[in-house]
């Protein structure tokens, strides 16, 4: 290789050239024999083969044109809701498949044609180019540094500390405006994360029916999803739709609960029974890990599993964590039966529901 080696790279910036490179090949069996001689391809020496390659490339480009016409036809001519049953794919959208398929073929064939052209008809003779050292030569380096130093001293910034300091001060303060402007992105957290929609006396509404829940409705082994009144879309005896108040999603996200009935003898905690009603207990549906809604209730083990990260809570033991990354028990909602015979909350959750946060304590 050294034969063509004329670059002006200072030696110290290059890897050590193995001693072999300077040794004639007969004395060094591992010396670089240099670039192998170029060998022609079929298409370089056989005009017939070259013509065949040209036809292949053209064929690919023609296929691409036909596919584009097919794309336009699919857009106009196929009903967008039509479903076709194709072998292996099953029942799929006809227009979507046609559009994606034709576009895919149109693009792919342009690419395949270009590459086939490059591989068969364009030169494949390798070229050698020299690399240049990135490090500047000493003159350039000195010149640049000198010019900069000269410019800096012309600015008198070094001799005028008052200007320098006030400028730095001003520049440091300016970004504060940008930070201040972000203040109104949202309200202050306040104590919002500590409260849900549950208030003393608020009735539990069954999400499936939109109606209040009577204790007898909840049988052992069943699972019922509930929300505080005013957050379920269907409400009232006729089941008419009620427009939900603004922001119901946030409220539902914090206040969702689930109801189960346990054998009192299976419950390990006195407090849990006291906060329930005849073995009916209400727990927050929001995982204490990062706040996914939990609902995978195993009625025989009384375990509740979160599908996001597999925190598992024991509903027969104060909602304690038995597995997974959640650190805190699931909050229980204290309930009672009101005069109407319906289940109602006795108070809000005694602790914040959902994910932990810094001020939670």
């Amino acid at each position: 290789m050294s034969s063509q080696d004329k670059s002006e790279v200072p030696e110290e910036h290059l890897p050590e050239v193995p001693a072999s490179a300077h040794v004639p090949a007969e004395s060094d069996p591992f010396a670089d024999p240099g670039l192998p001689a170029h060998e022609p391809r079929r298409t370089d020496i056989d005009e017939k083969a070259a013509n065949r390659a040209e036809r292949q490339v053209a064929f690919l480009f023609v296929i691409s044109m036909l596919a584009t016409i097919g794309f336009i036809w699919s857009y106009v001519g196929i009903d967008k809701d039509r479903i076709i049953d194709i072998f292996f794919f099953g029942k799929i959208g006809a227009q979507n498949a046609a559009l994606g398929g034709t576009l895919g073929i149109a693009l792919f064939c342009i690419g395949a044609g270009a590459i086939h052209w490059a591989r068969t008809l364009m030169t494949d003779e390798e070229i050698v180019q020299e690399r240049h050292e990135f490090t500047s030569d000493p003159e350039t380096r000195e010149y640049a540094i000198r010019e900069f130093t000269q410019g800096a001293s012309d600015s008198v910034i070094g001799r005028r500390p008052l200007i320098r300091r006030t400028m730095i001060g001003a520049m440091a303060l300016v970004p504060l405006s940008g930070v201040v402007l972000l203040r109104d992105l949202g309200p202050m957290p306040g104590t919002k994360l500590r409260h849900t929609e549950w208030k003393p006396g608020k009735e539990l509404i069954n999400e499936a029916t939109g109606l209040p829940i009577k204790p007898d409705d909840i049988v052992k082994g069943s699972l019922t999803m509930a929300l505080p009144e005013g957050l379920v879309e269907k409400y009232g005896p006729a089941g008419q739709k009620e427009e939900l108040s603004h922001g119901w999603l946030e409220k539902a996200g914090m206040s969702a609960i689930l109801l189960v009935r346990l054998e009192p003898k299976d419950v390990k905690s006195k407090k849990e029974l006291a906060w329930g009603h005849e073995g009916i207990v209400a727990y927050s549906k929001i995982c204490t890990h990062v706040g996914c809604p939990i609902g995978l209730y195993e009625q025989q083990t009384h375990h509740l599993l979160c599908p996001c990260h597999q925190s598992t809570f024991d509903l027969a033991d104060d909602g304690k964590v038995v597995f997974g990354p959640a650190a805190r028990s699931l909050p229980q909602l204290k309930i009672h039966v009101n005069e109407a015979g319906n289940l109602a909350a006795s108070q809000d959750f005694a602790e914040p529901v959902g994910a932990s946060f810094w001020e939670r304590g």
Partner: protein
């Protein structure tokens, strides 16, 4: 041939045509001086290797993302305003949902080609991030990140991180049940940040989760802020690749001072341009034929609903897995909550993993003390420790990634989730170590095989019976080019500390960092498989000691 005049240039006898195109070029040149740039770049040489095209896959899928993304913005309404759906998808008619979700349904069912564009966009996103990873590891394993390319490694790394963030923001836009769950988890992670968590959450979501601001804000981030930064970074990344010229594998005629390959015009223009169409074409076909993110099946987001198998897109899967593997550590100190069960897996661990990756060129540079430029690539087997570290990193990432789908694994392989989680907890620490040790062994084995090939030639499979009855296998010697390729790599010596005493017997002060560096360097270059020497080779091939 001076270095000014590109080699392999055109024949000097080629006549200069005088036509409209040349006149137009002259007009441009007299205003912009384009001939200078053309002289530098038209015949720029690129080495040919399939692994050099992985970055192209990333670039082209990024362009596909920009094109399809523009189409989607024409129809998507980034608003959380509640509407009642009345489009053509029957199972959701009459349901309350956000404008964002409804408009995504409209794109899918009522705008012709909309579903194809959505799916092309999403497939391109998955391919984009996976090709970035594969591209990064090609650079890593071949040592292409070494001087002078460390800065470009960092730009590439930033692109990877931005791609993952933008993937997450994009996947959150439709406001479906699955993406909403992802946002809910993100909210839980934000809340866990000490001191400022709740404030960040309230400012980010404009109030309590989910609020009405998050989708429009994520939309701005997804279509404007991050893509703009990425376009800038991609541009700089490519300019640097051009300016610093491509690396190449060692081989006959290839040195640290040259670059051997085919010219940009015409070969690479055709090959790279053609590859863009191939990437776009395959992505388009996927968008038409393979369903991805069927948001109509998930339903609109409601914080009280959830589906089994709630997973994010694959590139966020490792975070999901680390959250699943983490034991439930949480401290309460002076009324403040330290949620290590969230902080460690979602912020600290990925921070450590990715910072290590970002800083790796400097870490290795410090250990090896190598300050020279490198343009010839390493074969991964010749750098066993680096290759082992890379495989260990991939293994660590892979364990987290697999555990992000532990519930799917549990149902498909009839295992217990709890068992998989415990296996994952152990594997997270053990598997990378085993992977490292195995990789180093394999690399050294391959080096030994290379050495044998150089000294004894290639096994031909032909068995010969010698006159005295011995059977031998015929080995044919390697061509000189191959012999050179297999012996071209350097084998640096570990960094040695100076003697503890100088020649006058006065104890030297050895800096602690130097001690560490020496130890690391010994680990890095320990027990090499020595390259064959010319003497060994001659002794074996000069007729003595046949085998």
């Amino acid at each position: 041939m001076s270095s000014e005049q590109p080699k392999g240039g055109a024949d000097k006898s080629t006549p200069i045509p005088d036509n409209a195109a040349v006149r137009a070029a002259d007009a441009l040149d007299s205003r912009l001086g384009i001939y200078g740039a053309a002289k530098k770049n038209l015949r720029k040489v690129f080495p040919d290797h399939w692994s050099f095209m992985l970055g192209e896959v990333a670039l082209y899928s990024f362009i596909v993302l920009l094109l399809t993304g523009v189409f989607l913005t024409l129809f998507f309404k980034p608003s959380m305003q509640e509407v009642v759906y009345d489009g053509s998808y029957v199972p959701l008619q009459g349901i309350h949902m956000s404008q964002a979700y409804a408009s995504t349904l409209d794109i899918s069912f009522d705008i012709r080609g909309g579903l194809a564009m959505r799916q092309i966009h999403h497939w391109a996103a998955l391919i984009f991030v996976s090709s970035l990873f594969v591209h990064m590891f090609r650079i890593f394993f071949t040592g292409a990140f070494r001087k002078p390319r460390e800065i470009n490694w960092l730009f590439g790394f930033l692109l990877l991180v931005l791609a993952m963030v933008n993937g997450f923001t994009g996947y959150s836009l439709p406001d479906d049940l699955l993406s909403g769950t992802g946002l809910r988890i993100a909210e839980g992670v934000v809340l866990a940040i000490p001191l400022v968590g709740t404030y960040v959450q309230f400012f980010l979501f404009g109030g309590e989760f989910p609020g009405e601001d998050i989708v429009p804000r994520l939309f701005t981030i997804h279509v404007l802020l991050i893509p703009a930064i990425m376009v800038g970074l991609v541009t700089v990344h490519l300019i640097l690749v051009f300016y610093q010229k491509h690396t190449q594998f060692p081989g006959p005629g290839k040195t640290e001072k040259n670059v051997v390959g085919l010219p940009l015009l015409p070969v690479y223009a055709a090959k790279a341009g053609g590859f863009f169409f191939i990437v776009f074409g395959i992505t388009a076909a996927l968008g038409g034929l393979v369903q991805i993110n069927p948001i109509w099946s998930y339903g609109p987001y409601n914080p009280g609903q959830i589906t089994a198998g709630s997973q994010p897109d694959w590139y966020i899967g490792f975070l999901e897995g680390s959250l699943r593997l983490m034991p439930n550590w949480e401290w309460n100190i002076w009324g403040h909550t330290f949620s290590f069960n969230v902080l460690i897996p979602s912020l600290i661990l990925p921070g450590v993993l990715f910072t290590f990756m970002a800083m790796y060129p400097w870490i290795e540079g410090w250990i090896t003390g190598d300050k020279r430029e490198h343009h010839l690539l390493d074969r991964p087997r010749n750098m066993p420790v680096r290759t082992g570290l890379g495989v260990a990193w991939i293994t660590c990432y892979g364990v987290l990634w697999v555990c992000g789908g532990n519930d799917i694994i549990a149902t498909h392989f009839h295992m217990s989730i709890n068992a998989i989680t415990w296996i994952g907890r152990v594997a997270f620490f053990v598997a990378p170590v085993l992977a490292y040790l195995a990789t180093v062994r394999i690399c050294k084995g391959l080096q030994r095989r290379d050495r044998d090939k150089v000294l004894h030639g290639r096994e031909t499979g032909v068995i010969k019976k010698l006159p005295h009855g011995e059977f031998i296998e015929i080995h044919e010697p390697l061509e000189p080019g191959m012999r050179h390729t297999l012996t071209a790599h350097e084998q640096p010596k570990p960094y040695e500390l100076d003697a503890a005493e100088d020649e006058n017997g006065v104890a030297r002060k050895v800096k602690r960092s130097d001690k560490l560096r020496s130890r690391m360097s010994h680990w890095y270059f320990a027990e090499p498989i020595e390259k064959p020497t010319a003497e060994e080779y001659k002794e074996l091939t000069s007729g003595h000691g046949h085998h």
